[in-house]
């Protein structure tokens, strides 16, 4: 009986030990994310979350990272930057995440950053404005082209087409206003005059007043609309209603099929700079961005039965920037990972070939943005 008890004891101890060991091995690496899943920016946040969930599953299927599984902890900031500030504290203090990806909007990313810097966790933002990486912030990186690049791309295309006087219509959101400022600077540099500079509220359901003013201003050669989401659709439809036949430019903020579907025939002929993702099939086979873009689009569309957008693709790129750094660092040490992210070199992503430096936490140039136009309800590379 005594022997039996001893045996049982040993067995139990072994069992517990084994359990503890597996628990240690299976202790997942936590990626925290604050995204805008409801509210004004939800059309951006939704594909970002879907992509991150897909990436987690793919990584775990492939055996995890350095032998550890990966887990995603995410919260919705309701498109309110103030809420993002609270939620990121929760991710840092309560969930104890190892990495942060997210911040759908610029406001949210900037609201999160002071706490992230204090906690010293690498952070890749998915938002658009230049302020995220200029001046460089030690722990913050960026996956999406910023507004100045978008502006440069558009203005260069306008210049090549010979447009000298344009009208600009921007929304009053954080993105719209930050981009508007950048566009004004860029226009001055390339010698384009902004003859009309109108703004509108992204929640407006009608902007014909501003557009009528643009229509009635003489000598305007092109229209540049700086907005994203719902606002872009309203403007596009109003442009068609008023019969404005100026060349119509938008930003990469509308590089989604949803924009084309909602705008209908009104979107035909709109020109915009878009990540190559949207036109990957047209790229030459030798392009390193081609296959990975097509793979991402196919996996995403098969899994979610919905169209891909460039916002989800930013999340995909952020994920690969991180996993690439972890593999090189061969550890989950946050300081090391941050350094390896900062030195990401020649990593192809859907937005371009990523080459980061301590001075450049974005690592993309304008070549990753192609001017596309909408033809028969599809994005095609513009000539």
């Amino acid at each position: 009986m005594r022997l039996f008890n001893t045996m049982m004891g040993i067995a139990c101890a072994l069992g517990l030990g084994a359990l503890a060991a597996t628990a240690l091995a299976a202790d997942p690496v936590k990626v925290g994310s604050v995204l805008s899943l409801t509210g004004g920016a939800s059309s951006l946040g939704d594909p970002e979350l879907k992509t991150l969930e897909m990436m987690v599953e793919q990584t775990n299927k492939a055996g995890g990272l350095l032998g550890r599984p990966v887990a995603l902890v995410h919260y919705d900031d309701g498109s309110e930057p103030g809420k993002a500030n609270v939620l990121v504290k929760r991710l840092i203090e309560d969930d104890k995440v190892d990495m942060l990806i997210g911040g759908t909007t610029t406001g949210a990313s900037m609201a999160m950053y002071p706490l992230i810097e204090r906690a010293q966790i690498p952070f890749i933002s998915l938002a658009g404005a230049l302020v995220i990486v200029e001046p460089v912030k030690h722990w913050m990186f960026k996956a999406a082209h910023h507004d100045r690049m978008v502006g440069q791309r558009v203005m260069l295309d306008m210049k090549a087409k010979g447009y000298k006087t344009i009208a600009m219509l921007s929304d009053t959101s954080g993105f719209g206003q930050s981009a508007r400022k950048e566009m004004q600077n860029v226009a001055q540099k390339v010698g384009i005059t902004i003859a009309v500079d109108e703004t509108f509220n992204p929640k407006d359901t009608d902007v014909t007043a501003q557009l009528a003013k643009i229509k009635n201003t003489p000598n305007v050669q092109a229209l540049f609309v700086v907005t994203f989401g719902q606002g872009a659709v309203v403007v596009t439809k109003n442009v068609a209603q008023l019969g404005i036949d100026l060349p119509h430019y938008q930003t990469s903020g509308v590089a989604t099929r949803e924009y084309i579907r909602l705008s209908g025939p009104a979107a035909e002929g709109v020109r915009l700079p878009a990540p190559v993702l949207m036109v990957a099939a047209e790229l030459p086979d030798s392009d390193p961005q081609k296959q990975l873009s097509i793979d991402y689009v196919e996996e995403y569309e098969a899994r979610y039965k919905t169209d891909v957008s460039s916002f989800g693709a930013y999340a995909r790129d952020a994920w690969f920037i991180w996993t690439n750094a972890v593999k090189q660092a061969k550890s989950f040490d946050k300081v090391k990972i941050r350094e390896f992210i900062e030195n990401t070199a020649g990593l192809p992503g859907t937005s371009g070939i990523i080459n980061m430096t301590p001075q450049d936490h974005l690592g993309l140039d304008v070549s990753g943005l192609k001017i596309v136009t909408i033809k028969n309800g599809n994005f095609v590379i513009a000539n």
């Binding site: 899943l37 409801t38 309110e80 609270v86 203090e93 406001g107 002071p114 404005a129 954080g174 206003q177």
Partner: protein
């Protein structure tokens, strides 16, 4: 108040004991709470609740006791926050002086505005304060050079006489202390002649003025007080969070404060604290039910207001009292 023998005295004694018990309970909870909070995130939630509670109490003085609605109170909070942020960041002021200057500036603005808009009543007053709040938040998001625009701006940490105030635990004691201080001040104000004047003009402005109360002055006074408290809390919370954006002064924040007052109970100080606890905790508890959180939140609000129409604390106190004494009593707290 030690010699109690006359007939009105028992009521005074009872309300005094009630006050003491309430205050002692609050102080105990504030003092012991940090022991139960496992990490900085929970401390952060507690701090945000304290901020909401102080703002709620200040607004309750205006709404619950005086009967004047304000749908733009977050605007004053924003003025305080941005006042501090701009003065420290662009002019290099010390945080304490910036806080005082921002509070004084807000008081002056509130005074100027109150003299005009407090002539209005009911829906018109609601509209005017609503407009005021919206104007403030528009100014904050458009003056990009000063405020950083919709992207917001970073705020330096608060330092007092060269000693920096940082870390959630330290801030917790600041906000906890402010909450207790606000409760004491509010209770004293309500029981003072000035406070009784406010409650009288809530009942009937005509009757109050017949009784010799300068209705206009009292209303302006409480409005300025309430706005200034909001501004001070705005300054401190800006330093605490380290980041502000125009959203903090937005319409939704004003509505949140109104919800705190109405849900917890009009003319109830502890009601405002309760409302703040609910508004601070519920979003965190519901954060896991993605997409459903707003629905659940709304549902809880609607059901509470149907079941407890006078607000949680007054309704429950009245119910408790009526079961204990068999009569319908009025909640004094």
């Amino acid at each position: 108040m030690t010699q109690i023998s006359q007939s009105p005295a028992p009521r005074a004694a009872r309300s005094n004991t009630g006050r003491f018990i309430g205050l002692a309970t609050l102080t105990t909870v504030v003092a012991l709470l940090p022991l139960a909070l496992p990490n900085a995130f929970y401390v952060d939630v507690a701090i945000r609740i304290a901020i909401l509670a102080v703002n709620g109490i200040a607004l309750n003085l205006l709404m619950g006791y005086t009967g004047q609605i304000s749908l733009g109170h977050a605007g004053f909070f924003g003025l305080g926050a941005y006042g501090s942020a701009v003065l420290t960041a662009h002019f290099g002021w010390s945080p304490l002086w910036a806080l005082l200057a921002a509070a004084a500036m807000t008081a002056v603005i509130a005074w100027g505005v109150a003299r005009v808009i407090l002539r209005l009543r009911g829906h018109y007053l609601a509209m005017a304060t609503l407009g005021l709040g919206i104007i403030i938040s528009i100014v904050l998001s458009n003056e990009t050079a000063w405020t950083g625009g919709p992207d917001g701006m970073a705020v330096d940490s608060f330092s007092l006489f060269g000693v920096p105030l940082s870390g959630e635990r330290r801030w917790y004691w600041v906000f906890g202390g402010l909450l207790i201080g606000t409760v004491i001040l509010a209770q004293n104000l309500i029981d003072s002649p000035a406070g009784r004047a406010l409650q009288a003009l809530h009942g009937s402005e005509t009757a109050a003025s017949v009784a010799g109360i300068d209705v206009g002055r009292r209303k302006v006074g409480v409005f300025v007080l309430s706005a200034t408290v909001a501004a001070v809390m705005g300054s401190l919370s800006a330093h605490y969070a380290g980041y502000i954006n125009p959203g903090i002064a937005g319409f939704l924040q004003s509505v949140e404060l109104v919800i705190i007052v109405v849900l917890g109970g009009m003319a109830s100080i502890y009601g405002s604290i309760f409302g703040a606890v609910v508004m601070g905790l519920l979003p965190q508890l519901l954060a896991g039910y993605e997409g459903w959180d707003s629905v659940l939140f709304g549902l809880i609000m609607v059901v509470t207001m149907i079941v407890l129409p006078r607000g949680v604390v007054p309704s429950l106190t009245a119910r408790l009292r009526s079961t204990r004494f068999g009569t319908k009593g009025n909640a004094p707290c």
